[in-house]
């Protein structure tokens, strides 16, 4: 069975600095998809970034980028120029088929210090 591990329950970063959130996964599939979601306090969970396993190029979305290491089964999220609004729970998720639910990690709580 596929599993997703986020080894950092909590992280903190100074405003304007860079932080990296870790995610590893276990799968026997060769073609799959990875996601990072953000859940601000008392607010809706939203998609931050998505990576297709067949793509070698790391996905980027403005200040958010990933370091996808397929052989190591690692999918870390880098947040550059951290802002107070980045404070949230971040969840890493894995999927390989539209017919199976995504598998989520336990989440990392990110605090941003002004």
């Amino acid at each position: 069975a596929q599993t997703v591990t986020q080894s950092q329950p909590e992280m903190s970063v100074q405003e304007a600095e860079t932080v990296t959130l870790s995610c590893t996964y276990d799968t026997s599939e060769s073609d799959y998809y990875l996601f990072w979601y953000k859940q601000p306090p008392s607010r809706q969970m939203i998609l931050v970034i998505r990576q297709e396993a067949y793509k070698q190029q790391n996905a980027t979305e403005n200040r958010f980028s990933v370091n996808f290491q397929k052989a190591a089964k690692s999918f870390s999220l880098k947040i550059s120029d951290s802002q107070l609004g980045d404070a949230a729970m971040y969840f890493c998720a894995y999927g390989y088929s539209g017919n199976t639910p995504l598998v989520f990690g336990k989440g990392t709580r990110l605090s941003v210090i002004a």
């Binding site: 996601f35 607010r43 969970m45 998720a93 539209g98």
Partner: protein
């Protein structure tokens, strides 16, 4: 932005009551899901649906039931609420393609006294 709506946003009820948490989406998504989010914020899949008249149980044993009579509507029912049901419930949907992300509702925070 995704259009997926959950009502009520907050609910406090007494033990033994029957409740239904509503979830609707206007995107025509086939796949819909219910998650229970524990105080540590971990997500637990409790039910999902591939489409109309399709429902499946998730990983977390749950005393709830769901129905999917219409594509846009996926209500969750607790026949007899207990304090152990106190939690945040998140509804989500996605289209059927492999790489499609989930779109989440705002959640229902349920407290059973």
């Amino acid at each position: 932005e995704a259009d997926i709506y959950q009502t009520p946003r907050y609910l406090v009820i007494g033990t033994g009551k029957k409740i239904t948490l509503e979830c609707s989406q206007t995107m025509g998504h086939d796949k819909m899901y219910w998650y229970q989010q524990d105080p540590g914020m971990e997500l637990h899949l409790i039910h999902y649906s591939y489409g109309v008249n399709s429902t499946e149980k998730g990983d977390l044993s749950s005393e709830s039931t769901v129905s999917r009579i219409r594509t846009e509507h996926f209500p969750l029912t607790l026949e007899s609420a207990r304090p152990s049901h106190t939690s945040q419930y998140l509804c989500a949907s996605r289209i059927g393609t492999d790489n499609s992300p989930l779109h989440f509702g705002n959640g229902t925070r349920l407290t059973v006294t």
